[in-house]
């Protein structure tokens, strides 16, 4: 069977890799963008000089041949669904099953001048090349649209000390997704990086110079801002223009059922371009993020090779980085607090770290975590959410979730204190934070408590014995140097066993 995959992004490549894991089908991946799979999320780092294109490729070039995944660098003009044929620029390919993983393309809302030179979005590899091209004599850039790509673009230009004006339609950065405190934190952070953040400001018009390149923009407030580059980062939409006049059922994206099947047999759609006909509760029909693309790729591979598998993205999670502030979300944290939710929010006095936990007003079960500048463990949060754990249970064991590097200050105590103040409670944070405690919590331990206890006692006895022995030895023998060496080794070993016993005791006490 020949499986053709259009698009070599994370969705298409994940599908290809998993199909190869499960089967010996012939696999072709067609892309006009690049020869090899690269990490789209790393595009900004190429421009910033953190990496080259080479470093953004997750697999070495020999990987594809070794795994018998044919890479076709070509552009798909049209698809003959009846004859199961793809019309490419240079050739025709027939397939048995087709996976559409064609991604998205930046939104343009009909602004006057949106197609001028130096006006572009940031999605494809070629977009970075053109950004590089226009950066040569760039004195000022304007970025339109306050989302994740917009702030990335601002960071890119600022890394080269090119001044940036950042037009955001909303009253506060990304406040359609972030709750107001977090959004305000990012506003401050953007300004601390010396980007000229203009909130509640929309683009009205882009003005050309005599060569057809952008010269300035005019905002809805009538302000004219001189610039030689305009970044259009007001979201993306599925890249389905070339499918418009076919029998494929489309809405905003390619419509798929819960098995990621389109209305045409043997044709699937995954990733940014797929639109769920019946999205799960609390989920959007199109979720253009890396993680869902990867899950869809894996799911469709199972469906094709093993058995029909329902696409189940599990509990929502996402992450991003706004300049220097990392952001993680687990579960349901809407921008506006729903009536039946309560929120617990703690922010560091310096205003660059925050923890937010949402929980249900009546049942007190946790429903979501929002982290700014602090890392939490995915699996621990997921388990709490899946088990609808009581907020107070979560708070008392919150240390289990912390994923910050060693020696970092922890703030779980402050959050618990805040909860106690607000609710007149006296919860105490348990000190369960060791890796072992987490393993026990997640059921990954390979030893039982009794095992550890036994080991602890044995090591203690043995350790003491060895140390005693090392002190006795010199009295029993007269040869000096060899006995000193043996005694030294025994003392070392004995102390090692005592340390082991001590660490086992700590593990046990951490599990109380």
């Amino acid at each position: 069977m020949h499986i053709a995959i259009i698009g070599n992004g994370i969705s298409g490549i994940t599908a290809a890799r998993h199909i190869r894991k499960h089967s010996n089908h012939k696999i072709s991946v067609i892309s006009s963008e690049t020869d090899h799979f690269f990490s789209r999320t790393a595009l900004m780092y190429i421009y910033m000089g953190h990496m080259r294109y080479k470093e953004t490729k997750p697999y070495e070039d020999h990987f594809w041949e070794k795994n018998r995944i044919d890479l076709v660098r070509d552009y798909v003009h049209s698809i003959n669904f009846k004859g199961k044929k793809l019309q490419l620029k240079n050739q025709e390919i027939s397939y048995d099953k087709l996976i559409l993983a064609v991604g998205s393309t930046p939104n343009k809302f009909g602004w006057p001048g949106q197609d001028l030179d130096g006006v572009q979005g940031l999605y494809a590899y070629q977009d970075v090349e053109t950004m590089e091209h226009w950066s040569k004599d760039l004195k000022h850039a304007v970025i339109v649209g306050g989302g994740l790509i917009g702030i990335e673009m601002a960071e890119m230009f600022l890394s080269r000390k090119i001044p940036v004006t950042f037009l955001v339609r909303e009253k506060s950065y990304w406040n359609g997704v972030l709750p107001s405190e977090e959004s305000a934190m990012i506003n401050r952070h953007i300004e601390a990086h010396h980007a000229d953040l203009k909130l509640s400001t929309e683009l009205k018009e882009i003005l050309p110079d005599k060569n057809g390149r952008v010269r300035a923009v005019i905002t809805n407030k009538g302000e004219e801002i001189e610039c030689q580059f305009v970044g259009l980062t007001a979201g993306v939409h599925p890249n389905i223009n070339f499918l418009k006049d076919s029998e494929l059922a489309l809405a905003k994206g390619i419509l798929v059922n819960e098995y990621l099947e389109t209305n045409i047999p043997d044709v699937y759609a995954i990733g940014d371009c797929a639109q769920m006909q019946n999205p799960r509760k609390g989920r959007r029909p199109i979720e253009a993020v890396w993680y869902t693309g990867r899950m869809m790729g894996e799911t469709v591979a199972h469906t094709i090779c093993k058995k029909k598998t329902v696409y189940n993205p599990g509990i929502w999670f996402n992450s991003a980085k706004f300049f220097d502030i990392e952001y993680q979300v687990y579960g349901d944290v809407p921008a506006k607090l729903p009536e039946d939710y309560k929120t617990l929010y703690w922010e560091h006095p310096e205003g660059n770290r925050a923890i937010r936990i949402l929980y249900h007003k009546n049942t007190n079960e946790v429903v979501g975590f929002n982290l700014m500048g602090i890392r939490y463990r995915h699996e621990v949060c997921e388990q709490w959410l899946a088990n609808k754990t009581h907020i107070e249970e979560v708070l008392q064991h919150l240390s289990l979730a912390n994923f910050d590097p060693e020696f970092y200050s922890t703030y779980e105590k402050d959050l618990v204190q805040k909860y106690n103040q607000q609710n007149g409670r006296e919860l105490v944070l348990s000190n369960r934070s060791s890796t072992d405690a987490v393993a026990f919590f997640l059921g990954k331990n390979t030893q039982s408590k009794a095992d550890i206890q036994q080991g602890m006692k044995r090591n203690l006895m043995l350790g003491i014995l060895l140390i005693l022995l090392s002190f006795i030895l010199p009295f029993l023998f007269t040869v000096k140097l060899p006995i000193m060496i043996v005694s030294g080794l025994l003392v070392g070993l004995g102390i090692g066993l005592l340390l082991l016993s001590f660490s086992q005791r700590q593990v046990l006490s951490g599990l109380e």
Partner: protein, 527 residues
């Protein structure tokens, strides 16, 4: 801010030039005392003294002329000795005595450095204080002026422009620095007499610490320590938002300054002893001249001997079991200290390909076996006379591994192959601890669920050339024998996916795909 950096850079370059220029600023007049004590054998010295007429009383303004005459004088003496051995003493090559009577080339070269150091006089010696302190202050203050303005940037990962800069990505500047450092090591190991003036220059510092004359190893230790301290400050500023990096860097700076430099140079009993240097990195630990020296030292020496053995056999494996080899490689070790500080700007140059990993595994374990075999031979030859060839084996090891690999390639090639060439491909101690780390240790790098976006920052900035992303994007814990636990992968990760941890969960369960969270396991089973 930019102005300060430029002034700093200019000061640094002037200081460096002063230092380099000082190599040629001495006059030379043959120092007979040093010649005598260097040659150390009356029989030899009698001949040398006869030949020394050609140099006596002469003042050389050129270093080259001085060395030319020195070589001539010694070669004359060598011939005269050979003649005497053959005709008067009637010895042939078959006699054991023959070899101890003739004057060997190695001896001539060794004495060359001592004579060059002690014969130097004139301008540089008169202005020694000025040259030393001026170049030292210009270099240090200049470097710090260049480094400190980055405090003005907001704390966070700042790798901007690294791959646009020739210094960091094998451009002209990077190659130039690589050549400079390589030449430095070649001179240090095989032509130390050429840098005798630098040794003269740092004599006042040696005198402040302990009586006696500085040698090239004191000079090397001094430069090494300065480099770790200055570049350590740079590293700490760069990662000042990351406490793990701050603590770790403070630790390597402390161990270099105190254990490797200050203690051995200030306390006579600890002279030449680096308490933290463990066999087999310290490959000459079991050589008889060192064992004998320790035994002669008395109780304290015996204690040092026992410590060295316990360190290697017990302390190293036990701490490695608890914390992974990072406790040594990126917290204590001098080679690691230099790599983490001076070498940090070049960490992205390490090769991440599968091929490089294969070469690494063959090479480093070969060196470990080589070190073990050599040491066994050395220890056996303490008890028997039949292992004469073991002296050749240890000489090969010292030449190929100790000098060429660890020094010339290991450090000289920083800008070309990354900052851990030696630690990754050659260090036998790293190989030893790596085996423990891979087979039985609590240390691993944990991946945070399914959060990896495959961006590649972790792999790019891994100095050991580990393709961290390979594991991260699969949700696998990372257990690799080469990992030195520097923690930079976790620092540069834009999604906070990696964490260095110590836990007792069995090592066999860390390498497999435990987290197939994308597709629920109950619906499809494990892949």
């Amino acid at each position: 801010m930019k102005g300060i950096r430029i002034i700093g850079l200019v000061a640094f370059v002037i200081g460096l030039m002063l230092f380099v220029v000082s190599l040629g600023l001495s006059d030379y007049s043959l120092d007979m005392d040093s010649l005598e004590s260097g040659i150390d054998k009356d029989y030899h010295f009698n001949f040398v003294e006869k030949e020394s007429g050609m140099m006596k009383g002469k003042t050389y303004t050129s270093m080259w002329a001085f060395f030319l005459d020195y070589d001539q004088m010694m070669s004359n003496a060598q011939s005269a000795i050979l003649n005497d051995v053959k005709t008067n003493l009637k010895l042939t090559t078959a006699d054991g005595d023959y070899w101890s009577k003739i004057l060997k080339n190695e001896k001539i070269n060794k004495v060359k450095f001592l004579v060059a150091r002690d014969s130097a006089q004139g301008f540089l010696l008169r202005k020694r204080g000025l040259f030393l302190w001026l170049s030292l202050i210009l270099i240090c203050v200049g470097a710090l002026m260049y480094i400190f303005p980055s405090m003005n940037l907001l704390p966070g990962i700042k790798n901007d422009g690294i791959f646009h800069s020739g210094l960091h990505s094998r451009g002209a500047l990077g190659i130039t620095i690589g050549i400079f450092m390589t030449v430095f090591y070649i001179v240090l190991y095989w032509f130390p007499h050429l840098m005798a003036n630098w040794v003269v220059l740092v004599q006042p510092i040696k005198s402040m610490m302990m009586e006696g004359k500085a040698d090239q190893w004191f000079l090397y230790g001094f430069i090494y320590t300065i480099a770790i301290l200055i570049m350590g400050i740079r590293f700490m500023i760069k990662y000042r938002h990351n406490k793990y990096q701050l603590v770790r860097t403070f630790s390597v700076m402390f161990f270099q300054l105190c254990f490797a430099f200050a203690l051995p140079n200030m306390i006579r009993a600890l002279q030449g002893v680096d308490l933290k240097n463990a066999w087999p990195l310290d490959y000459s630990f079991f050589f008889e001249y060192r064992i004998n020296a320790l035994i002669e030292e008395g109780n304290f020496g015996l204690w040092l001997l026992v410590w060295g053995i316990v360190l290697m056999a017990i302390v190293v494996p036990i701490i490695t079991y608890f914390y992974g080899k990072r406790w040594y490689c990126s917290w204590v070790c001098g080679c690691g200290g230099l790599a983490e500080t001076l070498g940090d700007p070049f960490r992205q140059q390490s090769d991440k390909s599968l091929k490089a990993w294969k070469i690494e595994r063959y090479l480093i374990h070969f060196v470990l076996v080589f070190a073990v075999v050599m040491t066994i031979l050395v220890v056996l030859s303490l008890f028997t006379d039949k292992l004469g060839f073991s002296y050749n084996v240890r000489a090969w090891y010292g030449f190929f591994i100790g000098s060429i690999f660890a020094g010339v390639i290991g450090t000289g090639f920083y800008p070309l192959m990354g900052n851990r060439v030696w630690c990754r491909f050659g260090c036998p101690l790293a190989a030893y601890m790596g085996l423990i780390q891979r087979i039985k240790s609590r240390f691993r790098i944990t991946v945070n669920g399914g959060q990896c976006i495959s961006c590649g920052n972790c792999s790019t900035y891994c100095e050991m050339g580990i393709d961290v992303r390979h594991y991260a994007q699969r949700g696998q814990d990372i257990v690799r024998s080469s990992c030195v636990g520097c923690g930079i992968c976790a620092a540069v990760c834009p999604r906070g996916v990696l964490k260095l941890e110590n836990g007792t969960v069995d090592i066999d369960n860390r390498g497999i795909d435990l987290r197939t969270i994308h597709v629920p396991m109950d619906s499809v089973g494990i892949l």
